[in-house]
């Protein structure tokens, strides 16, 4: 079955982090997932975690320009959540047979492997950034994540001029890269 144009538009919105598209997707799909998780030994928090994780997986797929979803978004999200939740249940050792219900699912194993790899990268960067300490962390976040200019950063952090801030940023960056690549290369 083909995903209709409406769904494609939603995916595009998600890829662009558009809050309206996210709200729509959330509203249309969350309750189903919540019911599924609650009915299978999960809590409200579990439902939120799993659903958001699935949204991130979908987002990763939607990032790819040529990506066309071959099933309904709802089916995809449900399949991902189901897989993620089964895995988590197994990890927690409370696998229940009940999960074996019969809603339609699509194979998502490959996507999830990709997603796990990305998650691992995310965690590495997160750990590296958090172990930097201040002001390094905020300085780098300001420059690389919020895309602020050096001038602006210098003013915000109270450096006397942009060159000093640049100097500091360079030192911080070197530390971050070292932290990140040490983990990254171990992980490989």
């Amino acid at each position: 079955m083909k995903a209709d144009t409406n769904e494609q538009a939603l995916l595009k919105g998600l890829a662009g982090n558009d809050s309206r598209a996210i709200d729509m997707l959330y509203k249309d799909n969350f309750s189903i997932i919540q019911t599924f998780i609650l009915n299978n030994n999960g809590s409200y928090d579990d439902a939120r975690d799993i659903f958001q994780e699935a949204m991130i997986a979908l987002y990763e797929k939607a990032q790819n320009e040529s990506f066309v979803l071959t099933c309904q978004i709802r089916t995809y999200l449900y399949s991902v959540c189901r897989r993620l939740w089964l895995k988590r249940l197994q990890q927690m050792g409370r696998f229940s047979r009940q999960v074996d219900n019969l809603d339609e699912t699509v194979p998502v194993e490959e996507d999830l492997e990709m997603h796990e790899k990305r998650n691992a990268d995310f965690d590495m960067m997160d750990r590296a950034l958090n172990s930097l300490g201040e002001p390094c962390k905020s300085l780098l976040e300001g420059y690389y994540l919020k895309k602020m200019g050096m001038q602006e950063l210098a003013a915000e952090f109270g450096y006397t001029n942009a060159d000093n801030a640049k100097n500091q940023k360079y030192k911080c960056l070197m530390r971050l890269k070292k932290l990140f690549f040490t983990q990254y290369n171990i992980g490989e």
């Binding site: 079955m1 982090n17 249309d28 919540q34 019911t35 609650l38 009915n39 409200y44 640049k166 360079y170």
Partner: protein, 370 residues
């Protein structure tokens, strides 16, 4: 200091901030100095990681915000006034211990009773058998899909209802009487849809949980009674090995789907004499669909499949349809006009032609609660 300038240059180069001559110079430098080349590659990868990190982080943030926003607006629920299912779970968590004690006492009694029961009736095996009805939760999405397929002016679905289950069903009388599985009808009302996407309101006339059969009557002025049904309904058992086919609606886009196979055993799960075992690939949504043989006779109603085995499905024997129709006639004199089709008009025709006629009599059944 030099390293810092170099890094700055790399960042400007990667960020596309260099002018043409600078760029050419830098590329030349890259080519001639492997160390610098290596640094560029490494840094480009690092920046890519940073970008991904940034976009993930902002998405996570947006998701949290969306969650909080929708929660506030009441579009989603957490705790409080959630559906009954949620409450059950909460209650369960609260009274787990009490329940456990009660259950262990009850368990002993149950064991005794079930031991006795084994002697008297065929046991229902929930875990190993899967019913092939499907639970429909998202009424809105389904309606959208239908809207795109058909040119119907207005949906027949009453406002403010929730769809909870669905499956297939088929006509047993030209006036709009439909047979389906009892487990397809978990709700209080139902609508049916033909293979062209046209919806009709239907009344639930009779549900027989034991035989897992139910009868609906289309009650809609848009429904035009058909002149005759192409198939007949078989009264006697069928032989092993007979080629069978089924039509049903296992897909979410409402397209009718054909499944083919053969008759594999005279009894159903664990010797259940009410049904046959058939080798047909069946999916949720196939429940209630007719199982026909090559002669155009309905031999059963597809109902369950075995969870651990591929392609093993079970169909309620067609003679049970006669039985529940008789029961219904006894209970309700207004339906005495039901006349089951006695002769198959598609006998001897090729399968393609048979299906073309039969598919107009197979409906998508959706059940809702108010």
């Amino acid at each position: 200091m030099e390293d810092m300038l170099l890094m700055e240059a790399i960042e400007r180069y990667l960020g596309g901030d260099m002018n043409a001559s600078e760029r050419a110079y830098f590329e030349e430098l890259r080519k001639n100095t492997p160390e610098i080349d290596q640094m560029v590659v490494e840094h480009s990868m690092f920046l890519h990681q940073m970008d991904m990190y940034a976009s993930h982080r902002s998405l996570k943030h947006s998701l949290h915000e969306a969650h909080a926003r929708l929660l506030e607006r009441g579009d989603i629920n957490e705790g409080g006034e959630l559906s009954a299912k949620g409450k059950v779970i909460q209650l369960w968590n609260k009274y787990k211990r009490v329940t456990a004690i009660a259950a262990s006492v009850g368990g002993i009694i149950a064991l005794v009773i079930s031991g006795l029961m084994l002697y008297f009736g065929p046991a229902v095996n929930g875990n190993q058998l899967e019913q092939l009805g499907k639970d429909i939760a998202d009424i809105k999405r389904n309606q959208q899909v239908q809207g795109s397929i058909i040119n119907e002016v207005k949906s027949k679905i009453p406002a403010d209802v929730r769809f909870i289950s669905g499956g297939s069903g088929f006509l047993i009388d030209t006036k709009g009487y439909i047979v389906t599985n009892a487990h397809v009808l978990k709700g209080s009302g139902a609508i049916v849809m033909n293979n062209k996407g046209q919806e009709f309101r239907a009344n639930i006339l009779h549900i027989d949980q034991e035989k897992d059969l139910a009868i609906l009557k289309i009650n809609d002025k848009d429904f035009k009674p058909i002149t005759s049904l192409p198939y007949s309904i078989r009264k006697s058992n069928v032989e092993l090995g007979e080629t069978l086919y089924t039509l049903g609606y296992p897909r979410t886009d409402n397209d009718i789907v054909l499944g083919m196979g053969y008759m594999s055993a005279q009894t159903g799960f664990n010797g259940d004499s009410l049904s046959y075992q058939v080798q047909i690939s069946a999916n949720p949504g196939n429940s209630g669909g007719p199982v026909l043989n090559n002669n155009g006779e309905v031999i059963g109603v597809l109902s369950t499949r075995q969870a651990q085995a591929e392609g093993v499905a079970f169909a309620v024997k067609s003679k049970n349809i006669y039985r529940i129709v008789d029961n219904l006639k006894k209970a309700d004199s207004s339906v005495s006009r039901i006349k089951l089709p006695a002769r198959s008009t598609i006998k001897g025709q090729q399968l393609k032609q048979q299906i073309a006629e039969v598919k107009d009599c197979v409906f998508y059944v959706k059940s809702y609660t108010k």
